[in-house]
Subunit: 409 residues, 2 copies
Amino acid sequence: MALIVQKYGGTSVGSIERIKHVAEKVIKSSTRGNKLLVVLSAMAGQTDALINLSKEITQSPDPRELDVLMATGEQMSVSLFAIAVKSMGHDCCSLLGFQAAIHTDHTYGKARIRTIDSKRILRELDTNGIVAVAGFQGIDENRNITTLGRGGSDTTAVALAAALNADLCEIYTDVEGVFSADPTICSHARKIDRISYDEMLEFASLGAKVLDIRSVEFAKKYNVPIHVRSSFTEKEGTMVVAEKKEMEKVLVSGVVSDKNEARITMSRVPDRPGIAFKIFEPVFKAGIVVDMIVQNTSVEGYTDLTFTVPRADFRKTIDLIHSIAEDIGADNVLGDEDIAKVSIIGVGMRNHAGVASKMFETLAEENINISMISTSEIKISCVIEEKYTELAVRALHDAFGLGDEKAEA
Amino acid sequence: MALIVQKYGGTSVGSIERIKHVAEKVIKSSTRGNKLLVVLSAMAGQTDALINLSKEITQSPDPRELDVLMATGEQMSVSLFAIAVKSMGHDCCSLLGFQAAIHTDHTYGKARIRTIDSKRILRELDTNGIVAVAGFQGIDENRNITTLGRGGSDTTAVALAAALNADLCEIYTDVEGVFSADPTICSHARKIDRISYDEMLEFASLGAKVLDIRSVEFAKKYNVPIHVRSSFTEKEGTMVVAEKKEMEKVLVSGVVSDKNEARITMSRVPDRPGIAFKIFEPVFKAGIVVDMIVQNTSVEGYTDLTFTVPRADFRKTIDLIHSIAEDIGADNVLGDEDIAKVSIIGVGMRNHAGVASKMFETLAEENINISMISTSEIKISCVIEEKYTELAVRALHDAFGLGDEKAEA
């Protein structure tokens, strides 16, 4: 008898009809002789509706209380799901964060899971066979409700799979798996059958929305195999697993683009020890996540510094950086919101030279200028003008031969 | 510094505007130097909306899971209320049933409060001054969510007032207090300033909707003074308190009517020991609440038995009673849904003869036939034809001089 963790996202439980459909799917898995631990998100639209309700009161609702409000979304889906399963003649029991004993730190709105006390879950699994756990929520050490932030239900699922040593963790979503490129940009994008945790981490952090990055970190840390698949078809999706030797034969797994960043440049920064700290500390303190940072070699004691931030934080950052530039005697601050980051990812890059130059060559052939470059062991990212995003993705996808051959033919 | 428990019903928190209004009222009480423990119901309509959602899945949703679903209603109101109070610059903290440690038995849908561990509440009151507790919900010994049934938030408020030894328990509702009769029936009905627990119990059990009966039982048991008042005016409402000598001077406090019952008569029932048990045991087992029971003196070994049940259970009861009648050899089963129960209530009755005869006389003068009579120390109820309800209420109200003199003049 296998223990399977299944997670269904907001679209999959977006209506009573869909909740019933998920109940049927789960019962089918259960009657094959498996124990099912089902993690659910809030019904699609519910989380936004709750946020909007709080915004009718104030633009900056208290974080603790906002989490109490948000947690009702998943509470609704698990209870409705359990009602559906039981109405179909099968046992089921819902558990909320405090009942499933999902203990987190107390960072409201983006709490991190610390421990899960699996006693109650195991007991309910033994009694019922099917247990529904509210995703996205936990409790801190004072039994305050916390939420894990957007995509948090993925993390709940993987953390539960790790804590219970589940045989498999299936993440059901509205796409069929991880693709070599966004199929809406690249019509012959190919579904990837197997991908390593590290590659998936790059996919997630570089703009692919399919899995929350913290859930992949968790899966890697505890070696939980994840199966990302669609709740609307029976097709196999993408297995996210520990890296295997044969994965390195594939040079590049996929191309990802991200239009949610903006670029800021400080020019003629006096180059002395501690200057980067002086510039970025106020930015970090303001809760702004800086992505790429590029610093040129210093010329005559001055350097240029460019970095990217989420586009939503652009104005705030520009204001902050202006006052910092004055403080440290930098020359000028430039900003650009019309940029995109295009990245290629693949564990095969580690042992192959020439991948970067092929990427640069491909973009050059399309007359696309590169304004920033950032590399890691298994990915290369280039910042380009936003309007060339789709062209760049398609050109790179073709250049590295990622397409589905059948679709291309 | 006084500790005040305030409870606001669904209409009082029926919109974001109204929640803000309640927040302002509570802050006003707080800045007068009081500690405020605020119990909230779900926003008006929310509870029904949740029930309807579950009914889209099945007509008989699992009781445990239905309680998990229902509990989201009060969770929403307390978090929104706390967001409102904090946005107005005051400290506040919401607590759910499991956090406030409101322990109940495990009768889902109509659980009874067993104990309240007030540690956390007291700590939060010390820190914040204002604490919002979700009404209507608790947890059983296995930390399952339970709900207390319709009107449960009143009970939460009174139980908290008792557990914390509060100075006052204010129940804010959409009417101005307890009236000598329903003002929609009797235009010159008078607001009662003070009423005893026992009278209030009769009011509540005989059809007045203003306070949940269990909350009055609780208040009587722990001697918690309740102030029932409107959240839309500043006027004083009705104080529900322990009986005082001077209350007995008033013969009758009010007239109440109830159209939610139906009558069933079994005729020629063989009169032998154990027959009542044989008839009513299956009815009780089916969860049907029998209200009045009248049995005539036996004639030639046979008796007639008449009783009333909630109108919603009428069909079910009739079917049950038919099969019982066959079993025990009774002659006939008659049912009538078009009845009403009209009652007069007053602690003064205890020491005054002639109240009953005045009631019967008044009804006779209006040509209203009485089909059942039931009395207690402080109330007399008569079952009459439904169509005479309003006429009977007005006639009794006048006969016992309950009207507001100013309104009458």
